[in-house]
């Protein structure tokens, strides 16, 4: 517990401040429902909107929970592929399940990392979760 606290606190008290040092592979979280053994299609969880107006940008200065959740999911995805698995999987399952209230079945997600390849953007799946029953995901 103490070591964990120290490991969490040190990067905060002595930050590296290396924002956007490089632009690496970019994660997208996709999920599907598996109902009675039948796998649904993969779809992006928490996608960004097509447009955000100036008025919406102004409102988001003081009320921005949706976007902050999206940014947290990006962090969790990066942590997950770097080896921080249990906490990240639990949080991602929970946040995806929050959007699926009232639905039944098993939830599975995968992390698709996008990279440029010439003029194209290609995706590579770096993680696929073990399906869990939606009813067992704690919201």
């Amino acid at each position: 517990m103490l070591l964990k606290t120290v490991s969490l606190l040190l990067p905060v008290l002595f930050p590296s401040w290396r924002f956007f040092k490089t632009v690496g592979p970019s994660p997208r979280v996709e999920y599907r429902l598996i109902v009675q053994g039948k796998e649904g299609a993969w779809q992006e969880s928490h996608p960004i909107p097509e447009r955000v107006s100036l008025g919406q940008m102004a409102r988001r200065m003081v009320w921005n929970p949706e976007r902050n959740t999206q940014l947290y999911m990006v962090s969790l995805s990066e942590r997950l592929v770097s080896g921080v698995v249990d906490h990240s999987v639990g949080e991602l399952n929970r946040m995806i399940a929050e959007r699926l209230v009232g639905q039944a079945g098993d939830l599975q997600f995968r992390l698709m990392f996008l990279v440029p390849e010439g003029d194209q953007i290609v995706g590579e799946v770096l993680y696929e979760s073990t399906p869990v029953s939606l009813a067992e995901v704690t919201l």
């Binding site: 606290t5 490089t22 097509e50 447009r51 940014l71 962090s75």
Partner: protein, 227 residues
């Protein structure tokens, strides 16, 4: 402004910034106990009554927060939040005088480093110098707030100019400490930069929390470089 006034101003600004963050979490329905306590600590801090207790409460719940999210929830914004809280707590708990000054000076130095280091790591990267990195940010990264913003990737000259504007501003920011007018200009440019990041990338928490550290810089400039 006196050091006491700077500490109090920082407290008020921090309380408002953390209040905004905490209300978002609280009304979202998750971790209500944690964020309820943080909301109360912010309101307590705003009253100014024994605000040292409020700062300590905010710091302790900040630790719980780091455990709860296994690190920052909102990246650098949370790091800056905890850093400001820690420096304020150190300023309150330290005996009056040099130790208090050291705590606020540490915050000011970290603020300057946040710009300089961020600019330096970009300017030594050929991808940033060519403007390619910022093109990639808009082209495929998770940061643009909308799909329509991705069309900016097709404007490489504009993004090259934006890249050099950001890198140039960040690496020369420490020079703003040499004169109070330069510092105010530097802080105005920096705030505009954070505002743009909030609008384009949804990083609203960075905008508010970085502003909270500015009073320490105003004090530090006067203390170190003032007449």
């Amino acid at each position: 402004m006196s050091l006491d006034a700077i500490i109090r101003l920082t407290e008020i600004m921090l309380a408002l910034a953390v209040l905004q963050q905490s209300v978002e979490h609280f009304l979202g329905g998750r971790d209500r106990a944690l964020f309820g306590v943080r909301i109360l600590a912010c309101l307590w801090m705003l009253t100014g009554w024994h605000s040292d207790g409020a700062v300590v409460t905010l710091w302790l719940t900040g630790l719980v927060y780091l455990h709860r999210f296994n690190g920052p929830y909102n990246g650098g914004a949370d790091k800056m939040t905890m850093l400001i809280t820690t420096c304020l707590m150190a300023a309150h708990l330290a005996p009056p005088g040099q130790w208090q000054e050291l705590a606020m000076a540490y915050l000011a130095v970290q603020l300057v480093l946040s710009y300089f280091v961020s600019g330096y790591v970009k300017i030594v990267n050929p991808e940033w110098r060519s403007g390619r990195a910022l093109v990639d940010v808009f082209r495929f990264s998770a940061y643009p707030v909308s799909e329509s913003l991705r069309s900016w990737a097709a404007r490489p000259r504009l993004l090259w100019l934006m890249s050099w504007s950001v890198m140039g501003f960040e690496v020369i920011f420490p020079l703003a400490l040499l004169h109070p007018v330069a510092l105010w200009i530097g802080m105005a440019i920096a705030a505009t930069f954070h505002l743009a990041n909030a609008c384009l990338f949804g990083l609203n928490r960075f905008f508010w929390i970085w502003l909270c550290a500015y009073p320490s810089l105003i004090w530090f400039q006067d203390r170190v470089f003032g007449g």
